[in-house]
Symmetry: C2
Subunit: 254 residues, 2 copies
Amino acid sequence: MPPPIEDPWPAVCLVRPQMGENIGAVARVLLNFGLVSLRLVAPRDAWPNPKAEVVAVGADRVLKGAKVEWRLEDALGDATLVIAATARPRDLEKPVWGPRQAAQIIRAAIAQGERPVVMFGPEAAGMETDEIARADAIVTLPVNPGFASLNLAQSVAVFAFAIAEARQSGDAPAWFKHENPAAAQADLESFFSHLENELERGRFFHPEDKAPLMKRNLRALFLRARLSEQEVRTLRGVIKALTIGRGGRKKDDT
Amino acid sequence: MPPPIEDPWPAVCLVRPQMGENIGAVARVLLNFGLVSLRLVAPRDAWPNPKAEVVAVGADRVLKGAKVEWRLEDALGDATLVIAATARPRDLEKPVWGPRQAAQIIRAAIAQGERPVVMFGPEAAGMETDEIARADAIVTLPVNPGFASLNLAQSVAVFAFAIAEARQSGDAPAWFKHENPAAAQADLESFFSHLENELERGRFFHPEDKAPLMKRNLRALFLRARLSEQEVRTLRGVIKALTIGRGGRKKDDT
């Protein structure tokens, strides 16, 4: 018998999951397909959750090893490639992949030292646009337009299967090859905050009710660039250079 | 929005399923991926099963349309291509396919007018060897050897996804092209019974404890030939011709 498979990447991140049974079923099917890294953002019920443990059967240690965070940005902090599994790509300019394509890209990224995280939304409503906006790309399933709402664990099952299949088929060409280490979401997050603060000082976000959309579009643009750590540092230098000596308004008077 | 997908083939056959929740989850994920034909062989609990209905959510009509039989041969009677989903291919000389390969072959078979049925075993123990022996081929999932036991509905999810993916990718080359209509399992079944009866009369199955294995191997051999209806008739003629005038022993003295 071949040795057990326990791949630390990609991690799977459940965003605001509701039912413990589904979390347990996700843990089980991840281990079925050789994945072991689970992250939970703001689960609805208390954690640890006995209902999850019952359903996970032999995959208890995937549950026990799960990283639980209250904020999505904390769960994605170390990720260098974030993929949102959603049936409904909103008006966001992001690549949209099928499970197989996503799996091949993820395997190629891992081979280059990246840390991909795939996020799945809550059972009823799915992810919010601002959550999806954090992703570099979207993965969708070829569902029946007449009955598209998949159970959470079933979606994860299909994705985990695609990863296992890509593992068998060998290395795929890289989606994008960095010469330098890819930026993690935490780096990007501080860059975006920095940029948005300075743009607010310059009254860029106008009218005010369009501000969230304008911010998402800016983020989408920079996410698509697949910035390296070095490039993020460079861009922060750019902002500093552009704003230096900008007299009059200080950060704390916005 | 594109129209809903409701493909009558392939049918999915659950052999001796135990938990109503799993049957409901299977119905739901089938409809998610545009499949609507469910068959149940000897479900453990009473049918209809309220627990199945709760989990099926909007896929009640897949449950209501499910064909329930007590014997596997009745559930497979009209099938011209039978595939067993099992993680443990036994010592049976049958083709073994991955989900994608199986899906492409199934789609090609349907395009030629075949009626494929994919069978899944019960939750705990899986199918028995005699059940798997009825299949033309086996489909296995690329699971973690360290944790291979998938939840029933998760296995069906992966298979149904593969079918949906194959639906998108267009027609695949046929596995085997019949000039004449493929034989259904019911035809094959009467042929096998006929052959086995005549062989018993000739004391072919010797020693007696090897009889089940010898019968399985014979069946496997003829299944691999992917017989047409016409060929089954021909073979029955062959048996008749070979046994005619075989004096002395009559059928009812075995």
